[in-house]
Symmetry: C2
Subunit: 115 residues, 2 copies
DNA sequence: ACAATATATACGCCAAAACGTATATGTCAT
DNA sequence: ATGACATATACGTTTTGGCGTATATATTGT
């Protein structure tokens, strides 16, 4: 049920924090979009995504060849509040990462998550 | 000016998180009170207090032989908000640590901080 | 069935961080 | 000056965690 300590550990890494903030801003992104936006290697991003999912911060769904990650919809209220606060305080990173994402061509189409 | 990443790193350790939550709850405590409340060794507590002060999360003042630590009064609003949220989510720890603190005998007298 | 694409994982390596123990520093009382 | 108390720091060890490279798995299109 996601305690504060594992939550802080999950966010105590630059790569993971940038991923979570970008996902909170963008709603849902596939791995290759995150790789492009953060300018990091695919295995590095995948490893951190895996950690964030195990920690219960992110959820994923497969759609064809892509796997879309998003901030878990059932995050406790205190955790959502913290992400909101973090976003305010980390505008610089978020602005850059979002800008690079929007410059990316050939982004996969999203289908509405079922039900 | 305390960025989110160092702040998360500061709280991503059980000892440090318990210290910060207890201080937020109690206002100001000397090292020996924290040692007693958390049931940890003095060097361990001192080391973590030092890290939290360097990170800008705590401030300290000397009063005679004691050094009192407290959550820094100039913490950014987003950081204070996060601590409030963390306290809500970590009630179990906080309750135990506070209870042990109150059971402690011979606690030093506090003088109002000057000016 | 095969090639191309997207993603995950395994392995070995290196660096960061936490720890226990011992010791240093600073303050007070006698 | 000395001893007692409170706190900090140094040192060596161990654990944890992140990384790059290589490889495995899964899906799609031909």
């Amino acid at each position: 049920m996601l305690d504060p300590l594992p939550f802080f550990k999950a966010l105590a890494d630059e790569t993971r924090l940038r991923i979570v903030l970008l996902l909170q801003d963008q709603g849902e992104l596939c791995v290759c979009e995150i790789v492009h936006a953060l300018e990091l290697s695919q295995p590095k991003v995948s490893r951190h995504l895996s950690q964030l999912r195990s920690a219960g911060v992110l959820s994923d769904r497969r759609q064809g060849q892509w796997i879309f990650y998003a901030v878990d919809r059932h995050l406790p209220a205190w955790a959502e509040a913290m992400l909101g606060n973090a976003a305010v305080a980390a505008t610089a990173w978020l602005d850059n990462d979002r800008a690079r994402l929007l410059r990316m061509g050939d982004r996969p189409q999203r289908q509405a998550a079922c039900c």
